[in-house]
């Protein structure tokens, strides 16, 4: 049986990438906390299929700037290179995204094109493009982002779930803690002192995870704790509704929908507390 022909929807290339071209990469570098930052540029020959990772790998093997000065390999964080681990997030030409899925053919198709690489600005720099995102994970603890199971012994299956709800939860659960939503958020700011993490804005990712676990039959046992946290300082009311988060999320997670849902849940929760005589 011959399958009916279908339209090809692959995007027409706006600019056909030039073969054998060289692209200039200008990288924001810093040797460590408290050290002066500097810019260094590298000219890199581009192979078909090159991405930011293969460019940084090339520079590691040939750490020589455009001035001919020998330097050290650039330090950056990476993992799966398939855009599922979230590690290699950085700011590329002013936009936060994963560097593995950033194809050079798309961002620099012509010979002599320039690309700038910077570390995310909302987290302390460890070295060069590598930042410390511990606060992002800490905020998942604030909202108790887990299902409180009765241990790992065999106690039978979990609750059944209708497919619509599974699809909603699955989407929320693809959040890879990359930090794009936080980098783009005007309300989420660099906070190096962990003492202040409990009162600073918690971020779209954590609000969305609170929703994920409140939606689960067993996870909702901690619903009140989560809403208490989101009601407090740095909670959901600190969201300024800029909606940048949802635009930069690489997994297209409906973050603003989550923030809206949690905002409503917090309102109901606070009214319930008020009428129950609690503050």
């Amino acid at each position: 049986m011959v399958a009916p022909s279908k339209p090809v929807t692959s995007k027409p290339d706006e600019v056909k990438p030039e073969m054998g071209r060289t692209v200039r990469f200008t990288i924001h570098r810093c040797d460590g906390p408290g050290k002066a930052a500097r810019w260094e540029s590298f000219d890199v020959p581009i192979e078909p299929g090159s991405n930011i990772i293969s460019v940084l790998q090339y520079i590691a093997a040939h750490p020589v700037t455009i001035e001919g000065k020998r330097t050290t390999p650039v330090v950056w964080d990476s993992g799966c290179l398939e855009e599922v681990c979230g590690a290699c997030t950085m700011v590329i030409n002013g936009r936060v995204r994963q560097s593995c899925s950033c194809l050079i053919d798309h961002i620099a198709p012509r010979n002599g094109d320039e690309v700038t690489l910077e570390p995310m600005s909302k987290f302390p720099v460890v070295r060069d493009l590598w930042v410390d995102r511990e606060r992002l994970f800490y905020n998942l603890r604030r909202v108790k982002a887990w299902v409180p199971i009765d241990g790992t012994y065999d106690l039978g299956a979990g609750p059944t779930e209708n497919p619509d709800k599974q699809e909603t939860r699955y989407k929320l659960s693809t959040c890879m803690s990359c930090g794009c939503c936080l980098e783009a958020c005007p309300q989420f700011n660099l906070e190096e002192d962990p003492e202040h993490w409990d009162s600073a804005f918690i971020g779209a990712h954590a609000i969305s995870q609170a929703r994920l676990f409140n939606e689960h039959e067993t996870g909702k046992q901690l619903k009140r704790d989560r809403l208490d946290e989101l009601m407090g300082p740095g909670g959901v009311s600190d969201c300024g509704n800029a909606q940048n988060c949802v635009k930069v999320c690489p997994k297209e997670i409906p973050l603003t929908e989550s923030i809206g849902a949690m905002g409503r849940a917090v309102t109901i929760h606070s009214l319930a507390r008020f009428f129950a005589g609690k503050k």
């Binding site: 049986m1 011959v2 399958a3 040797d31 299929g49 093997a61 390999p73 590598w130 994970f137 299902v147």
Partner: protein, 667 residues
């Protein structure tokens, strides 16, 4: 037994196996120190796409059983695995799924709200549970969440961005025991020792040895190689799985999940050599569905080693690859695009993102890539209660299984030596454990083996600490000088490397660590993957000796005392060369073909000589720094039979396209 002592367990690696172990041990009341080179949520387990196998109620009513799952795994692994542990794993699989379900993993659901199932390679039954096309990610997140819970309760202490450097041991021979580790903070570069009553290595595979693989950048095999150099045996090093369907890339090869075949994906090339038309423009009759023709029973769902070899043969030997290059089509365009989005959304996205074409409308172009390490640290086990008078033969669906699936049939529950290396107190869980997959791994069994190790063998670790040798002689009573000496030894290695960076001017490729790493990958991929020969492996070993010699003169390109990634990478390259020598030597000495190990000069399986585990023992006095011993395999449960998957003959000229997949697609 020492009273009121402080007990601690060290877990190295924060993927599925490490997290499952940490959670299980912490739950038993023993504090856990968990080490990982990355925040555990970013571990390589996230890359697993397809699913996790387990017998389930629907399959059971169609004649499937835990025993059938066990039999498929043994047959799939070409009888190279000890059988007891595999039986136990298959028997526990449904419980593992239930637990993950309770943890909140968003498994795909049927209209009635039950867990949905899909078909996967190596089985004729739907027995694979899945969460979209990112099952590994979802499973890892569930365990990451439980770990976060225990961390906030103070039961697990995470050391993220810490690199394992060496196991600390005391005593010699019979008395040798692992009592901790040396690790380095990858940011501050501080090196320190940690005491542990037991150490669980859960450090995954070694794909980076092959350069571009489907693995994450952290999968160097460095940690396993360090244990190996410290005296741990390494089992079946030559057993490396090449995944048939990966998207070739400049930095790595990205996996295209087996679920693409499970959901009806068809593998083909144009019948006309070098056909210049786009895949979607080539009519049905001019397509050669070589897997469906050669393997009418399993079709596109033959196991990975067979699929890889057939694709390799079609491209490399017959020159029939798409556009004359090393690539074939993996075609899903006959399926409903909305169905594909729902069932395979994640991997459809990956292809579109990295290859720039929409696989719903244009067939994907793929080629095999190194994917999984079946070999690993050699481990022991205590047999369970199932002890047949003679091995069971071919197990057919619907047959009554010769044993039930009660816990403890294959491996004794709580035995302290389950998944323990030859060094007491040093365990290996997950991919770094050689135990379960034999000569090749079935799709969707990896996630299972990781979690099973953590949950099941984690009990043995707790017992080792509470009642075993660690209770008699706890790590906290070991003299401090043992740890100081281990730290000093690692600091000396680091000093040598950092000093080499001084005065780096023009760095020649000869001693450039990145160039040595690149050459290592190219050599190992060429000599030791899909098709091997004795002659080629001899040359490979010579090349590895050359690389080892150059490595001894390596020059670091960064001498920084803060967050020095070059140091970490360069150190790993040295360890990777050592492990590569074991991989190549094991491959050379195994003069037969079995599972993923295919020797062109010895194309048949040879049970008389090689129904044995190859055990690599580190030996610095040998030219290849490696000795291979052969150990018998536990084959008391199942009798080895030929592993053919019902193969028949096929060629590009035979114009007999099969109708079967089209029927399957319509149903």
């Amino acid at each position: 037994m020492v009273a009121n002592r402080e007990r601690r367990v060290i877990v190295v690696g924060g993927g599925l196996a490490g997290l499952a172990a940490a959670v299980r041990v912490a739950e038993s009341g023993i504090p856990v120190d968990l080490f990982s080179m990355v925040p555990v949520k970013r571990s390589h387990s996230v890359c697993a796409q397809g699913g996790i196998n387990a017998c389930n109620e629907v399959a059971r009513q169609q004649g499937y059983s835990e025993y059938q799952h066990f039999d498929e795994t043994i047959y799939g692994g070409d009888y190279l695995a000890d059988q007891g542990p595999v039986l136990e794993m298959a028997n526990w699989a449904p419980k593992v799924i239930d637990l993950l379900d309770r943890m909140g993993v968003p498994f795909n659901r049927t209209s009635e709200g039950m867990r949905d199932l899909r078909l996967f390679g190596g089985s004729l039954f739907k027995r694979t549970h899945f969460a979209g096309a990112t099952t590994g990610q979802q499973l890892l997140y569930a365990l990451d969440e439980q770990t976060r819970r225990y961390t906030s309760e103070g039961k697990i202490n995470k050391y993220e961005f810490w690199e394992f450097l060496w196991p600390v041991t005391t005593g010699e021979g019979e008395d040798k025991r692992c009592v901790g580790i040396v690790a380095q903070d990858m940011r501050t570069m501080q090196i320190r020792a940690f005491r542990g009553d037991a150490v669980v290595m859960a450090t995954g595979g070694n794909g980076l040895i092959f350069g571009k693989s489907t693995n994450s950048v952290i999968c160097t095999g460095g940690a396993a190689a360090r244990c190996y150099q410290a005296g741990a045996w390494y089992g079946n090093p030559e057993m490396i799985q090449v995944h048939p369907t990966a998207i070739p890339g400049a930095d790595k090869c990205r996996l295209m999940s087996e679920s693409a075949r499970g959901e009806g994906g068809r593998v083909w090339v144009p019948r006309k050599k070098g056909d210049t038309r786009r895949g979607q423009d080539i009519p049905e009759g001019e397509r050669w569905y070589f897997l469906e023709e050669k393997y009418p029973k399993y079709g596109n769902l033959v196991p990975r080693d067979i699929a890889s070899r057939e694709i390799f043969d079609v491209c490399v030997n017959q020159g029939m690859g798409v556009f004359g290059e090393n690539q074939v089509y993996l075609d899903l365009t006959h399926k409903d695009p909305e169905y594909l989005t729902r069932k395979l959304g994640g991997i459809m996205e990956i292809y579109e993102k990295f290859a720039g074409e929409d696989p719903r409308y244009a067939p994907m172009r793929i080629f095999p890539a190194v994917h999984y390490t079946m070999g690993g640290l050699w481990t022991q086990f205590t047999p369970g209660t199932y002890d047949p008078s003679e091995p069971w033969g071919d197990h057919k669906p619907g047959m009554e299984a010769p044993t039930d699936a009660k816990p403890g049939r294959g491996m004794r529950i709580g035995a302290m030596n389950n998944a323990m290396t030859n060094i007491p107190g040093l365990y290996a869980f997950g991919e770094v454990n050689f135990a379960y997959h034999g000569a090749t791994r079935l799709g969707a069994n990896a996630l299972l083996s990781c979690i099973f190790d953590g949950l099941f063998c984690g009990l043995g670790v707790a017992n080792f600490v509470n009642e075993g040798p660690a209770a008699e002689a706890p790590a906290e009573l070991v003299e401090q000088k043992v740890y100081d000496a281990a730290v000093e030894s690692e600091q000396a290695k680091v000093r040598k490397l950092v000093d080499s960076a001084a005065g780096v001017g023009e760095q020649s490729d000869d001693v450039n660590p990145y160039m040595i790493g690149r050459e290592l990958g190219i050599e190992m991929t060429a000599a030791s993957t899909v098709v091997k020969t004795g002659e080629r492996l001899q040359r490979c070993l010579a090349k590895l000796r050359e690389l080892g010699e150059r490595y001894s003169r390596v020059k670091l390109s960064d001498g920084a005392g803060w967050t020095n990634q070059s140091l970490s990478y360069t150190r790993a390259i040295g360890d990777m060369i050592v492990l590569a020598q074991a991989i190549a030597k094991g491959g050379l000495l195994r003069e037969e073909s079995r599972g993923s190990h295919y020797r062109l000069d010895f194309p048949e399986r040879d049970d008389t000589r090689f129904l044995k585990t190859s055990v690599a023992v580190y030996d610095p006095s040998d030219a290849d720094r490696c000795r291979i011993d052969w150990r018998d395999i536990d084959t008391r449960l199942v009798k080895p039979r030929a592993r053919t998957y019902g193969k028949t003959e096929s060629s590009p000229d035979a114009k007999t396209p099969t109708e079967k997949p089209a029927e399957a697609a319509a149903s």
